[in-house]
Amino acid sequence: MEWRRKHVLGLADFSAEEIEFVIDTARSMEDVLTRDIKKVPALRGKTVVNLFFEASTRTRTSFEIAGKRLSADVVNFSSAVSSVAKGETLLDTAKNINAMMPSIIVMRHPASGAAQFLSRYVSCSVINAGDGSNEHPTQGLLDLYAIIKSKNKVKGLKVAIIGDILHSRVARSNLHSLGRMGADLWLCGPGTLVPKEMGRSGATVTNDIREAVRDADVVMMLRIQLERQKTAYFPSLREYARNYGLDSEVFSLARNDAIIMHPGPINRGVELSDELADSSHSIILNQVESGVAIRMALLYLLAGGHNAAR
């Protein structure tokens, strides 16, 4: 197939073919990462701008490394936007950066739809590194890739995603990527954090962690934002950890060869016990590795070898 996308804004309309194509490309990128000289000139002379309106060392660093491995010039813009009401800043910022003619802008922003908005006002490609509660497409792809590397397939696997589903763009992107590739998806969390509309996505929804984890091949824990407790989504972290945290006892219900995932950073003792976070079942570090390869793949597909913007 031919890669035709100018932007990567979300996985909602990615076909299975496109997803596979990205994974294949990522495999080749991973080859580069195994060499002594972890660099190829594919994006030489191209500029990648990391435009992060939300603090995120992890994802930003991942994109930075990915860009540099491809010999791109990577520039970081961090903007602390204290309130979403400063909407005008985004349009102005977009126009300013666009005037500097980057090849790709990687953006993370607290408002859903911000990446789509940006793509309308810049002439270069846009990669969504997380927009509000909407999507985090590179995470959805790297999680899928990590699972494939571990299990050699996704189709038919029972994947349980547990935590604050309501606010999670990671969950939503994963629903698209894993769902499209045939996983049997289960969503679990407290009643306040699993919206009723979720059922329409084709996943099975439950508030019982045991039901979700039973016979699961993959258990993906989501980060609980500590501020949620303050706005009364659940009584206390203790109560949350008791019922929705993963410990060895609950995890024993999963299959023997089940793997544990987490997008990071982990709240140890809340979503995941120390023991499990460091166990051999955890592929959390593989996720990070896969992240760089996936991001290299997307940067390459969007900007590798093209002189003019499409």
């Binding site: 031919e2 890669w3 035709r4 495999r27 080749s28 580069v32 000139p41 390459y300 597909l301 070898g305």
Partner: protein, 186 residues
Amino acid sequence: MKKSGKKLILDTKGVDRVLSRLTHEILEKNKGAEEIVLVGICSGGVPLSRVIQDKIRSIEGVEVPSGYVDITLYRDDLSRAGYQPRLKRTEIPFSIDEKKVILVDDVLFTGRTIRAAMDALIDFGRPKNIQLAVLIDRGHRELPIRADYVGRNVPTARAETVEVLVGGETEEWKVVLREPPPGKGK
């Protein structure tokens, strides 16, 4: 007068004879198979390097390490390659340090592929030297690159194409010179 002229340059037997000669030349120049490694350039050079590896085995009784390299990420002409060239894999499961690397490709044309391949090899390690073996040299070099071992020189017009086709399990080879179809300019 055929619509798109096609001329058969080498058939299976022809290719086999040419590769035998190339193998002998390689062994002669390098005084044997010591320190030699073969690296085929994806994708045309891969089956060729395997044949050469087989022939060295039957002549010298030595198993020469063989791998392949995809040069897509090193090309300088991606914009001319059309939409988005698909990445292939690179497998060089041995060290090339201090080795004599025989790069193998099917058709030598502008020389840009070879330049990219050398860039890739140098990122892998520090070979003692790099030598180039090609089945067909069709001229029209754009860079100062030359092959050490040439199967056959085929003078061509720029718009013509030379295709090296390997067929199925029976390993039938065909080297074909194709005229461009009339009326299509580029």
